[in-house]
Symmetry: C2
């Protein structure tokens, strides 16, 4: 499998892993998105107030484009695409990888 196809399959694997935890396996609930953000993007707990919850709520509202109450694979891929652009779009394309 090529590098690009393995990256796309990893994106899918991560989505399925978290979306499949409970309820509808084709969408991310707010809890599932929170788990994904903590594990995959390193959102740490901050002592006392769970600042992460506040950020998850904000993230969820931004990603749930059709206001369905869940994040589907299109909304998830758009998020990963935005993340990739942010990491790549530095002067000369020398991002943080």
């Amino acid at each position: 499998m090529s590098q690009l196809m393995s990256a796309v399959c990893t994106m899918k694997k991560v989505f399925d892993q978290y979306a499949g935890k409970d309820g509808d396996p084709t969408t991310l609930s707010k809890k599932e998105l929170g788990d994904l953000l903590r594990a995959e993007l390193g959102f740490e707990e901050v002592s006392g107030k769970d600042i992460v919850l506040f950020e998850v709520n904000k993230f969820f509202a931004a990603l749930d484009h059709d206001k369905s109450g869940t994040v589907d694979c299109t909304e998830y891929c758009t998020f990963v695409c935005t993340l990739a652009i942010l990491m790549m779009d530095t002067k000369g394309g020398k991002g943080k990888c």
Copy 2:
């Protein structure tokens, strides 16, 4: 590094690998995009007429959203995102990985 971050870094690595071949290392020329499509998505030569060139021209026109004559990292990430959605968005999210 998490799975999701490694997928994003692979996306970047592939872009840098092909964009860096000649000219501006932050954009894909039509030739560089053709090389990427052949190697990463398995566009094979068809005996006689190079059908791939026709497809590369079509792909290039579709990806070069701002008509700059090159494909930048935002346009590339949008393409990969669309590819991921196509692979994931089958009934029950059971795509081709």
